[in-house]
């Protein structure tokens, strides 16, 4: 689910592209699967577990409800919706919750302005909390590679083109399984290989080493850093 492509696709789907909607749901099954597994804390299987069906429906719902101007990227938005639905589902299953807190159903949004307002607040609060957690997690992850935000301030290239090429290098790194693996194990960039496959000079790579580390981590773990990776205009992958 690449942020830039996603938003474009969502727009098209909303305009009534049925086929694309099918495609989109199909393509994002892994995304749904991950979220649902994390939520239930067990390995789910398509066709066996209800949670996956609930999550898939939630994603479909998220497409319709998504508004680009809300300030929350679609993947993060979808995740919030999916998690809400899964919560609802669990309550129904357990019958422990006496009061349901359902999302306003499609179509009857107009019936309760108050409800949709509350949902909006909830959404933004959740998104903000998630973002904060994400950044903290990202900082910790970077720390493992010996990189801090201060370092990134110092070495992030001033020039947009330079940043772009470093981002491309990072994308290149994440695309190659073997390089990514090497990078994760050694916690060191395979600069030589990167130089060969991107054509960016060694000097530039060397200088932006920490920046490349940060961006590759962000790309390779996009699904964990939904907010951040959506916020950054990362180069199109693949």
């Amino acid at each position: 689910m690449h942020p830039v492509q996603v938003e474009e696709n969502i727009r098209k789907i909303k305009e009534g592209d049925r086929l694309l909607r099918e495609d989109f749901l199909e393509n994002n099954k892994t995304f749904i699967h991950k979220i649902a597994c994390k939520f239930t804390r067990r390995l789910l299987e398509w066709g066996r577990d209800d949670e996956l069906a609930v999550a898939l429906m939630a994603l479909d719902e998220a497409i319709d409800r998504f508004r680009a101007d809300a300030g929350v990227p679609f993947p993060a938005y979808a995740r919030i919706v999916i998690l809400s639905r899964l919560t609802d589902h669990r309550r129904r299953e357990n019958r422990s919750a006496s009061v349901e807190v359902p999302l306003p159903q499609q179509g009857d949004e107009s019936s309760s302005a108050e409800f949709s307002k509350a949902w909006e607040v909830y959404l933004l609060e959740t998104a903000a909390r998630e973002r904060e957690e994400e950044i903290k997690e990202f900082a910790e992850l970077l720390n493992g590679y010996g990189v801090s935000f201060e370092d990134l301030v110092k070495c992030s290239p001033r020039h947009r083109d330079t940043r772009r090429s470093l981002m491309l290098a990072a994308a290149e790194l994440t695309k190659r399984e073997n390089l990514l693996k090497e990078f994760r194990v050694k916690k060191k960039l395979p600069l030589m290989e990167l130089e060969n496959c991107t054509g960016i000079s060694r000097k530039t790579l060397e200088r932006g080493r920490k920046y490349i580390i940060a961006i590759s981590l962000l790309i390779s773990r996009q699904n964990d850093f939904l907010h951040m990776s959506s916020y950054l205009r990362l180069p199109v992958q693949g």
């Binding site: 903000a128 935000f149 990134l152 940043r163 920046y211 950054l232 205009r233």
Partner: protein, 354 residues
């Protein structure tokens, strides 16, 4: 230009943000409201030259160096000697080793007035002295109505005798006095650098400080401020000659006039009394001086011949004058005539040496 970014880290009053362009930036924390990590903020993009601050620092350093350099160059010939001149105005001249005046400064208010009216920088020392005397005359610090005293001290910074000869300074003073039709007691005395330091500390000119010292030795009390008093008035008040005060302090100068002329000359300076001792002060002073038994002969010598001093050089144009003065003073007292003989003997000796 406004920019947006997600706050990644907050540190004091600034925070690190991640912009949508993928740049990590350190920006000041927005003052309004509580900003937390993960929040999106807007901030102002820095304008202008990114390295403006560095440029400014470099430029200001450069300026400092330029000015300092200039100042330094101006002072490049370092002062090797200082001359102070006290009339009532006190003036100090810093003199380079080549005899040129580097700077002049007034040590009291009158001195500052005088120095502000003339330009001594770059002049040869005698010229500068002449200028000062002339200006002092113009401002009536020296006039025929009063007892004029010109007290000059000279301090050689490193102890070496620089290219300044007291004689030419004396000549300059004398000349300008003559053209103004005035006469004065002229004292030119070399002093030790330490004395000058002390004087600077106490805030008076070296000459005045010297007076203070000597008078303290002799337990003479000066009423009023030594720093501001007119020397002529002072003399009158105390009924004494400053020459005596200053002259009789060196101990080992009694002998060797002929042989070690140069040395003594350097050490002792030039002491010239007023020609027209119109007031009775000076003779009076003489008397007190003469009364003292322990004074070496040659000192008295210096005093009683109106214009001459023991260890003074032959003032080239002054021979005739001297003679006449000798005649004048010859009859004053008995012992003085004796002294005269002795003195002329000494002079002969000197001539013989030459």
């Amino acid at each position: 230009m406004e920019e947006r970014g997600i706050v990644a880290k907050i540190k004091g009053k600034s925070c690190i943000v991640i912009t949508p362009d993928g740049e990590f930036k350190k920006v000041p924390l927005p003052g309004s409201g509580l900003t937390g990590i993960g929040q999106e903020i807007t901030f102002r993009k820095k304008r202008g030259v990114p390295y403006l601050r560095h440029f400014m620092v470099a430029a200001s350093m450069l300026l400092v160096f330029i000015f300092a350099g200039r100042f330094y160059l101006g002072q490049a010939p370092e002062a090797s000697a200082y001359m102070t001149i006290d009339i009532n105005p006190s003036i100090e001249l810093a003199v380079a080793s080549d005899g040129k005046v580097i700077s002049g400064s007034g040590l009291n208010s009158d001195g500052r007035i005088i120095i502000s009216k003339i330009k001594v920088k770059g002049c040869a020392l005698p010229e500068a002295v002449e200028l000062i005397i002339k200006q002092a005359m113009a401002d009536h610090f020296l006039s025929s109505e009063q007892d004029n005293v010109v007290l000059a001290t000279i301090t050689f910074d490193n102890g070496e005798a620089a290219a300044i000869d007291l004689e030419s300074v004396y000549g300059a003073i004398r000349e300008s006095m003559d053209t103004g039709g005035l006469d004065a007691e002229v004292i030119i005395k070399p002093v030790q650098p330490e004395v000058r330091q002390e004087a600077i500390k106490s805030g008076v000119s070296t000459g005045r400080f010297l007076l203070l010292q000597k008078s303290a030795e002799k337990s003479i009390q000066f009423s009023g401020e030594l720093g501001t008093m007119n020397l002529g008035e002072m003399e009158r008040e105390k009924k004494m000659s400053l020459i005596h005060l200053l002259q009789d302090t060196d101990e080992e100068d009694a002998t060797g006039i002929g042989e070690e002329k140069k040395n003594i000359y350097d050490r002792r300076g030039i002491f010239v009394e007023r020609n027209n001792t119109g007031s009775k002060n000076i003779p009076g002073a003489d008397k007190t001086q003469d009364g003292k038994d322990d004074i070496p002969d040659n000192r008295k010598l210096g005093k009683d011949n109106g214009k001459i001093n023991v260890n003074e050089h032959d003032l080239k144009n002054g021979d005739e004058e001297k003679d006449s003065q000798r005649d004048n003073s010859g009859g004053k007292t008995k012992d003085k005539s004796n002294d005269k003989d002795e003195r002329s003997g000494g002079e002969q000796g000197r001539n013989g040496n030459r």
